[in-house]
């Protein structure tokens, strides 16, 4: 699909297509068949598009710019390494069970792309549609879940409302007779939701983009934007100045720094979000379980290695430290034990905290920023990972054509002035607080 050029064919030879035959060839080759998936790109003086941030969104945007729009000179710059940001720190859950149409159509588009992503990238991202089930703790919550499930079904998205018996059959790992402070009365299930191997997403996009001739430049921090006559002309980096026709920022938890760099305030606070994994155990959790307990929240899934991967709410105040609050981890672990008492004796192997853009309505921002040729993709709150395939495809269309496709039109910055906030939670202009 890409227009072929000398560079593209050369790069395509460096990134061989994976197939059963390629495995045979790799086995027969004496040495040297397996090569790095992306490497060796040299930073040039000028590009058509510079993407800042080699995470899920940045790499996906670069991939679609090259594949769908035939843009040839693209660079992805990262101050660290590919996939060293939030794409490698999340809890790998994909779902589209949102209430608002502006959100659920977008995330449903993303979920459909997850289903075929391994084929599109020729790289196994291990999409597992094991089902995402949110538990319901009261009759009021049941009514709210029914409303959300119905909104999804009207949009053609699968949703099932489970009563206690239905939940017992779907998720027998939950002991419904356990005496909880907030007893579980049912669940809202999306069977096509599930998990994806997060690192493989970054690696797969990086490999596919490299095959299309995208330059991935690691250890190259962008420190400023140069502009002349109201148009951005390029970026200052730690490796010197690079000219660019268009600049895309996809820097996950550091969108605030982009605002500071360009001298504007954004409707974003930077918070810490923690996650943790336990020691590996035999299969216990068969789906993704999400449990709200008024004061706390837990989402948990079991990795292929057997570890329980879980996370909860934000630490609660702006921070750039990436040091999670002990109190929050303790609270999240307690909630896990309340949901699944059989996990009480498990050891936590690792826990980590990532910086997370939290917008003032809980929905992302995809828009121009300050200049006509500077584009911002950020403010993903809790939805960054699951949005990657749709975000990459539609944001690339926006950057290439200058017109945002319908699915992302609602994520423009001006919605805060116009009163068109996408406040899924109905919580007002604040990130989640408990």
């Amino acid at each position: 699909m890409s227009p072929s050029s000398g560079a593209t064919t050369l790069r395509a030879r460096l990134v061989p297509r994976y197939s059963a035959w390629s495995l045979v060839r790799a086995r027969l080759a004496t040495s040297g068949y397996w090569r790095p998936l992306w490497t060796g790109a040299q930073l040039k003086d000028a590009y058509d598009v510079i993407v800042v941030g080699a995470g899920g969104h940045g790499l996906a945007t670069a991939f679609h710019l090259a594949r769908d729009h035939g843009i040839k000179r693209i660079a992805v710059l990262d101050r660290s390494l590919v996939g060293y940001g939030n794409v490698g720190r999340n809890t790998t859950i994909v779902r589209s069970n949102y209430l608002l149409p502006q959100n659920h159509y977008f995330y449903e588009d993303s979920l459909r792309r997850w289903e075929t992503l391994s084929r599109d990238l020729n790289y196994n991202v291990m999409y597992s549609s094991r089902g995402v089930c949110e538990t319901i703790n009261s009759d009021d919550e049941m009514a709210a879940a029914a409303r959300r499930g119905n909104a999804m079904r009207l949009a053609g998205i699968d949703a099932e409302l489970l009563d206690r018996e239905g939940l017992r059959r779907f998720a027998p790992e939950i002991d419904l007779h356990h005496r909880r402070r907030f007893p579980i009365v049912g669940g809202l299930l999306q069977r096509r939701g599930g998990t994806v191997r997060h690192d493989a997403v970054a690696w797969g996009y990086a490999r596919a983009a490299t095959a299309l001739g995208v330059d991935i430049i690691e250890n190259c921090e962008v420190t400023g934007v140069r502009a002349a006559a109201g148009v951005a002309t390029g970026v200052e980096t730690t490796r010197g100045y690079v000219r660019a026709d268009r600049i895309v920022f996809a820097v996950a938890g550091h969108t605030g720094a982009i605002g500071t760099m360009l001298g504007v305030e954004l409707p974003i606070e930077t918070h810490l979000l923690q996650a943790a994994v336990t020691e590996p155990i035999k299969p216990l959790v068969n789906c993704v379980l999400i449990y709200f307990a008024e004061h706390s929240e837990i989402y948990v899934a079991q990795s292929d290695r057997g570890s329980l991967v879980f996370g909860g709410l934000l630490d609660g105040f702006p921070s750039y430290t990436r040091e999670g609050q002990w109190g929050r981890l303790e609270d999240v672990a307690q909630t896990l034990v309340e949901l699944l008492p059989q996990t009480a004796g498990l050891k936590v192997l690792r826990h980590w905290a990532g910086t997370n853009d939290q917008t003032m309505d809980g929905s992302p921002i995809m828009d121009r920023l300050v200049y006509d040729n500077v584009f911002l993709n950020g403010g993903w709150c809790f939805g960054g990972f699951k949005a990657i395939p749709a975000s990459g495809a539609h944001f690339a269309t926006f950057v290439a054509t200058g017109t945002p496709p319908d699915l992302i039109r609602n994520y423009r910055l001006s919605r805060f002035q116009m009163g068109h906030m996408l406040d899924e939670r109905g919580g007002g202009p604040f990130p989640v607080r408990v």
Partner: protein, 80 residues
């Protein structure tokens, strides 16, 4: 940062407090006041409330790059 020193109650666990927002610049428009955040890495003044304690509103001066708290004081007049 695991504790905040409430002027009334003394040092208390962080879970007792609720972060409200980083204070906007004095010349902020009402829109900026409600929706926009400077969100920088330097020391900033914030409003917190001791919700699970004396419920006093506090102005906390804190560095979000290190989470070091420099000052905690009460907001507004205090009746004797």
């Amino acid at each position: 940062m695991t504790q905040l020193a409430c002027p009334f109650c003394g040092p208390r666990e962080l879970e007792e407090f609720l972060f409200h927002k980083t204070l906007p610049s004095p010349d902020a428009t009402p829109f900026a006041d409600a929706y926009l955040r400077a969100n920088h890495r330097d020391v900033s003044a914030e409003h917190w409330q001791h919700v699970r304690g004396c419920r006093a509103w506090l102005e906390v001066t804190r560095n979000p790059s290190t989470d070091k708290v420099l000052e905690v004081k009460l907001i507004g007049p205090v009746r004797a």
